[in-house]
């Protein structure tokens, strides 16, 4: 018998994502991913000064503020053919790599670990055994028995005070929870420590970006941070040394805790390497430009069709034609209408809403369906890591090898690289990328210091806007994957603006040819133990780090805000 399950919303703060699945014989047979919020930020930008676009676009999402600011200035600079000083690249690179670390750590520990970790089961753990286990995995100083005992006490107090009450009608004790009490307690300890770790990343963004959550220091043409070796009020050597302390602390946490935890949880949930692959065309872009033009990048990116890394094709520079010419968006199944049939390139993109009800075979989402040369593509850390491996990027290969080796030894059998094409593989790739991001952070810090040592303190090139029409696009490998902004500028004013965001690639509905998107494809054949508590659906969707870039944030006064409807 077929059973329909609706989960709405599956994310809260980041915007409303609704997932519908049909379950037959204990597994998913059909899936729909629907963005439930209208996102029309593009319309707000029309007629505005392109130099202001970044400040507005960074408000479209509550989690990815920084990434929209960076991508927006890159788009306008691309339209103007404007090079920016290398110091500005280094400062921007530090902000976005620190932001990525923040995002990856918070995503794993605070947004998705609880899909796999049973907090209540941790109450039964023996803290001494937990410490022994943790210390056998890593020499992190906070793995000792005192820390584990304190964590257990804290958890007991928390549960005893009734604060965990809501947790009890969550998924604790769900049959799909497999970790021992000791592994669960170790994860809870690291959940708490991750709150401290993410603060180091946030400090870096705040110190460089002047303000967080919304950075203030970017500008079309560079950054507004004055640099000096001898003044107190600007970016000084002293301040830069302070930044390095935060970077080192992040490196310790990522290498000794995050990567190890993901390997351990991956080994215990090795069956989840079989589920969730979905769309295995992978698209990612190179990032962390080290020259003024954007032709030399620290981390590679490109396109991999059909899970075959032998067919990797790189994207090589800002303005890359292979990327530029491959992107289209379809609204056949989205609540918009175009003035002509077929998908549209973002430069020609239109944002005209046309709402119908949720129609299984018709329109059912506020997200458009992007394609790359006509194919659906998955974006995100997994795409980025696979491209890194295909391109021979050594830091990516090192962290990926280490993580797979750790997980293999815990499991007692070899986990192949192909296991990454899965729900749990997306978590593994995100941890690998976090390792790479920390190295990128330090490299840019070093590059800035070296360049300042040569006496170069330039951070800004003034933009000039020509009469007539120019077009440009900017890309950024954001924490959730490839983000691009596309703009048409006429007589110095924005004439068109389209954001093609990572979650549009991954969460978009069926396309022009009715082909399902990455979220939908990844849910197919997922086991469902209990249709009333569809934890497995959440595991797969959360592995993408879902975010719909349209955050509505309202305090609801005592209303049930989430519905699970099993029909």
């Amino acid at each position: 018998m077929t059973k329909r399950i609706t989960i709405d919303p599956i994310t809260r703060i980041e915007g409303h994502l609704r997932i519908d699945v049909e379950v037959d014989g204990g597994k998913v047979t059909k899936a729909w991913s629907s963005g439930q919020m209208w996102r029309g930020v593009e319309l707000i930008l029309l007629g505005r000064d392109p130099r202001d676009a970044w400040a507005i676009t960074q408000r479209i999402c509550g989690v990815c503020t920084t990434v929209h600011a960076i991508t927006s200035v890159r788009a306008v600079e691309n339209a103007l053919n404007l090079e920016i000083p290398v110091n500005a690249q280094f400062i921007r690179n530090m902000i976005i790599s620190a932001h990525a670390l923040h995002d990856h750590i918070v995503h794993f520990y605070h947004l998705s670990a609880l899909d796999w970790v049973d907090v209540v089961s941790a109450l039964k753990a023996d803290p001494v055994k937990t410490a022994q286990l943790a210390e056998s995995l890593s020499d992190w100083p906070l793995n000792n028995r005192h820390v584990m005992t304190q964590t257990l006490e804290k958890l007991k107090t928390f549960v005893g005070s009734g604060q965990l009450g809501p947790f009890t009608n969550g998924y604790w004790g769900h049959p799909a929870m497999k970790l021992s009490p000791e592994v669960n307690l170790m994860a809870v300890a690291h959940y708490l420590q991750a709150l401290d770790a993410q603060r180091h990343a946030n400090k870096i963004v705040t110190l460089l970006g002047s303000k967080s959550p919304h950075i203030q220091n970017v500008a079309v043409g560079g950054v507004s941070n004055p640099i000096a070796t001898d003044s107190q009020s600007v970016l000084t050597i002293e301040r830069l040394l302070k930044l390095k302390e935060h970077m080192d602390a992040l490196g310790e946490f990522v290498r000794k805790v995050y990567l190890v935890d993901v390997a351990a949880i991956g080994a215990f949930y090795a069956d989840w390497t079989k589920y969730g692959a979905g769309v295995t065309n992978y698209l990612s872009c190179p990032d962390f430009p080290m020259d003024s033009k954007g032709t030399q990048f620290l981390v590679p990116g490109g396109y991999i069709p059909d899970a075959d890394i032998g067919k990797y094709k790189p994207i090589t520079a800002f303005g890359d034609a292979f990327l530029r010419d491959g992107v289209e968006e379809s609204v056949k199944h989205a609540w918009y209408e175009y003035s002509k049939p077929g998908p549209l390139h973002p430069y020609k993109g239109e944002t005209t809403p046309k709402y119908t009800d949720f129609q299984d075979d018709g329109k059912y989402s506020w997200l458009k369906a992007p394609t790359f040369y006509g194919k659906r593509a998955q974006v995100g850390p997994l795409a980025n890591v696979l491209c890194g491996i295909a391109a021979g990027h050594q830091p990516t290969i090192n962290y990926a090898t280490k993580l797979l080796d750790t997980a293999s030894s815990l499991l007692g059998s070899k986990i192949p690289l192909a296991a990454l094409h899965s729900t749990i593989g997306r978590h593994a790739a995100r941890a690998v990328r976090a390792g790479v991001m920390q190295e990128v952070l330090v490299q840019n810090w070093q590059a800035l210091l070296t360049n300042m040592g040569k006496g170069d303190v330039a951070t800004f090139n003034k933009p000039t806007f020509p009469k007539g029409e120019v077009m440009g696009f900017g890309f950024h490998e954001a924490p959730r994957g490839l983000l691009s902004h596309w703009t048409v500028i006429r007589d110095g004013k924005i004439a068109n603006y389209q954001c093609v965001v990572p979650s549009t690639w991954n969460a978009g509905p069926r396309d022009e040819n009715d082909v399902i998107g990455p979220y939908e494809a990844s849910l197919m054949d997922n086991p469902i133990a209990d249709a009333e508590l569809p934890l497995e659906v959440l595991r797969t969707i959360h592995s993408f780090d879902p975010c719909l870039a349209c955050a509505v944030h309202v305090v609801e006064d005592n209303q049930e805000v989430v519905q699970v409807k099993a029909l």
Partner: protein
């Protein structure tokens, strides 16, 4: 004593951004003592954690849907502030209430939390408040100032330029 005033909301969606507009107006109209940090939190959750952790007082201005007249201001404190992890499906989706939940779990929750919720009229795409909500903005700011005065902080209006 450390006081944090946090304005949250999405300024691209009309009244959704009322909390942010409120803290901006607060900064325009008043000189605040050193103990007070004002944060434009936008729609961020965890990104504000660092600045909020360890505060003695946390004052929040946010849009709140409670089926009242648009512009109605509601004051909530302590346990009245809803949804500490209270969503059945996603006990770990990170929003404002989840950030508070995380702080609580970590023993870093401010001792006193007061939330001013303002009933919205519209979430249309616009960077301006509706007239109904806009008319109440100065009252929201006055409420925030009154809270500061109640805890003994000196708040002085800026002189007209």
């Amino acid at each position: 004593m450390h006081v944090v005033i946090l304005g949250v909301g999405n300024i691209l969606l009309t009244d959704e951004g009322v909390g942010v507009h409120a803290v901006n107006q607060l900064l325009e109209r008043f000189d605040l003592p050193e103990e007070v940090d004002v944060i434009d939190g936008g729609t961020s959750g965890m990104d504000c954690l660092d600045q909020v952790s360890g505060a003695d007082y946390l004052l929040i201005a946010d849009c709140m849907r409670a089926k009242k007249e648009p512009g109605t201001i509601t004051r909530l404190t302590g346990d009245q502030i809803p949804a500490f992890f209270k969503t059945r499906i996603s006990p770990h989706q990170v929003g404002l209430s989840d950030m508070l939940g995380a702080l609580n779990f970590h023993d870093m929750l401010p001792k006193t939390i007061v939330l001013f919720g303002i009933e919205p009229k519209s979430f249309e795409l616009s960077m301006e408040l509706t007239p109904e909500v806009g008319a109440k903005l100065s009252e929201v700011v006055d409420n925030l100032v009154a809270e500061l005065k109640d805890i003994g902080l000196a708040v002085t209006p800026k002189r007209a330029a």
